[in-house]
């Protein structure tokens, strides 16, 4: 679906973790027309004070009820304004925006990796993958038990593995420590979270083939031809796709505010070429 301005209505709002909110909005056009990985650009109520919209990953989308959810942490006046919304309040959203995760049709096992609020970036993909009959393992990392995303908010079919920095629940350490245990099982991996986590995942993914000694038998995926970097086809063949974050202005590709540096040496717009990128499209060491 092409983007459009949609008038949505708040259905429910709750603080699922300290300072973290899950809000659902009645937005049939977005619930049916979006894909996992895409986002909405949401207008705040006070244009004179807050001049920018706020981008949110579409956290879940239910075409039957016409409801989408967003999940965020209160970090300033904009997000605090959202927490004060009441059921029935109207909210103006621009979307769906950006490009979605691309899952290879032959991938049976999907590894989702989320760091903190990065859950909001990959949560929708869990639903989409289960619907398509794939198996999903979700690796989730947070600072401590109080920041751990409730398992009750994930589908039962998802294998949920947790790591915390202080060891208060699950593995003590980084969630990336656990990735090697799954790299043979996973056909593809999809991640969202802090930039250092994504960079670590990208390093792991780059060495995966050698470590596993993968010798592809039979016909090569894609018949050996090289697909244009950044194309949906090329991304579908990538082992790791990441959902990136950047301060954003227009969210439609006009202002060039939200770029990250691409591996090709050209800035890539998170809102337009992303927010999902194949890991190899990103210049992880550029310092941008």
């Amino acid at each position: 679906m092409t983007m459009r301005l949609v008038r949505t209505e708040l259905v429910e709002s709750r603080e699922i973790l300290p300072g973290q909110w899950l809000q659902s909005f009645h937005a049939p056009a977005l619930a049916t027309g979006s894909r996992a990985g895409q986002f909405v650009h949401v207008r705040t109520g006070d244009l004179s004070g807050l001049v920018l919209r706020r981008p949110f990953s579409i956290n879940t989308a239910d075409p039957i009820s016409g409801v989408i959810t967003i999940h965020y942490r209160t970090i300033g006046r904009g997000t605090e304004w959202f927490t004060r919304l009441r059921p029935g309040d109207g909210v103006d959203m621009l979307g769906p925006l950006g490009r979605p995760f691309e899952v290879d049709s032959r991938s049976r096992h999907l590894l989702l990796v989320a760091g903190g609020l990065g859950m909001a970036g990959v949560r929708y993909l869990a639903d989409e993958a289960l619907r398509d009959g794939r198996q999903v393992t979700m690796l989730f990392g947070a600072a401590s038990a109080r920041d751990v995303y409730p398992s009750s908010l994930l589908p039962d079919e998802v294998e949920y593995v947790i790591a915390t920095d202080d060891g208060s629940v699950g593995h003590r350490g980084f969630i990336t420590d656990l990735v090697p245990d799954y790299e043979a099982w996973a056909d593809q991996a999809f991640a969202c979270g802090p930039a250092p986590m994504l960079a670590a995942l990208a390093r792991l993914a780059a060495g995966r083939r050698e470590r596993l000694g993968v010798a592809r038998l039979g016909r090569k995926r894609g018949g050996g031809k090289v697909d244009a970097r950044g194309s949906a086809v090329a991304r579908r063949k990538a082992f790791l796709q990441v959902s990136m974050e950047q301060n954003m202005g227009c969210a439609v590709g006009a202002c060039l505010g939200c770029v990250i540096m691409g591996a090709n040496g050209a800035p890539q717009r998170v809102c337009r070429e992303g927010p999902v990128f194949a890991a190899e499209e990103v210049a992880w060491e550029s310092g941008w």
Binding site: L5, N247, V252, L256
Partner: protein, 354 residues
């Protein structure tokens, strides 16, 4: 719409500015039939726009990014992203952040270069009713001249807006806008290189903009745009460094409106070419304020990010306002707040400055 035909617009020098407003009696309102309001504006050299609501450079890309969300054909004109001779990758990130009543940006003129811009977009622009004004930036007079030469005569390009006031690039840009002589010479050089309508965008980052505006007008610019962003910084949440990758950014949005209004007010009184106002427009009242201090047209920028449909709505609201007041042209709204007598203290003084 563009080119040809005598100007019916309000910008013929001296003709309509400072015209006293005709305040129709309220009782008249209901008795007059809805008039067809003339919103057209002549920015000089045949650049006649259907209405005075433009979209600002850097906020509307190349006109295609908003897709179906915006009725592009209803805009007065589109000022496209700043264009340079060679491609530029722009500044290190973060590039944007919100500030009280505004935002800071330091894109750093990321663009694919003039040749790529022409190749990718000019054909699309040819099919539009809306004029496309290409914003041009450079590091030297030679750069500006060469970019403009390449744009000259390309179908689909209605005019040039000279960006001599970008605060976000180290070399060039701003240096031309803070010195009257430099501003005059780059304007004159570009003027010699093209017959395209030429707007020059002023910087607010100067003590007194008037000598600069005068030099630009004397050098042959057809119109002035006032103003570019104000130089500013923000601090990273960690408080260990500035927030923006480029340290400095340009402040835009409602926060800068009083400053931009003051500059339009000053400039409109001392030049005979049209002034296009820009700075923090979010509603019709802002448009009317800028017209009152002498602008003949306005550009909407930052507010587009919150409400992409705002510029088109302002066109309708401006026409509605004229109808409500029984005006057949919005020209009657221009210059109403300017001093009646030339040489009034406010026109020459800087007394109020700290």
């Amino acid at each position: 719409m563009i080119g040809g035909g005598p100007s019916a617009g309000p910008s013929a020098p001296g003709a309509t500015r400072r015209r006293p407003v005709v305040e129709p009696a309220v009782a008249l309102e209901s008795s007059i039939a809805p008039v067809d309001v003339d919103l057209s504006v002549d920015l000089g050299r045949g650049l006649v726009l259907a209405n005075p609501i433009l979209v600002a450079s850097g906020t509307f890309g190349y006109g295609i990014e908003y897709g179906d969300v915006v009725e592009v054909d209803r805009l007065g004109a589109i000022c496209c992203k700043g264009t340079t001779l060679k491609p530029r990758i722009g500044n290190i990130t973060p590039r944007v952040t919100e500030t009280p009543g505004g935002m800071l940006n330091s894109i750093g003129l990321q663009n694919p270069g003039v040749d790529a811009v022409i190749e990718k977009y000019a054909k699309t622009w040819t099919g539009w009713k809306t004029a496309v004004i290409v914003n041009v930036a450079g590091e030297s007079v030679g750069d500006y001249v060469e970019v403009v030469r390449r744009l000259d005569g390309v179908p689909g390009i209605a005019g040039i807006e000279l960006n001599i006031s970008c605060p976000n690039v180290g070399k060039g840009g701003l240096q031309f806008a803070i010195d009257a002589e430099a501003a005059g010479s780059v304007t004159a050089a570009v003027r010699r290189a093209t017959d395209l309508p030429l707007l020059v965008k002023l910087s607010p980052n100067v003590a007194d903009v008037r000598p600069i505006a005068r030099a630009i007008a004397d050098a042959g610019a057809d119109a002035l745009t006032a103003v570019n962003t104000l130089s500013g910084i923000a601090v990273a949440p960690s408080r260990t460094k500035p927030l923006l990758g480029n340290i400095y950014g340009g402040l835009s949005g409602p926060a800068i409106k009083p400053v931009a209004l003051r500059i339009v007010y000053e400039v409109a009184q001392i030049v005979d070419i049209p002034v296009v106002a820009i700075g923090g427009i979010t509603e019709l009242g802002d448009v009317l304020d800028y017209l009152a201090v002498g602008a003949v047209a306005v550009q909407v920028g930052t507010a587009i990010f919150a409400d992409p449909t705002l510029p088109v709505r302002l066109v309708d609201e401006l026409a509605g306002e004229c109808r409500r007041r029984g005006l057949s042209t919005y020209a009657d709204l221009i210059g109403t707040a300017l001093p009646r007598k030339p040489g009034a203290p406010s026109a020459k003084g800087v007394e109020y400055r700290p």
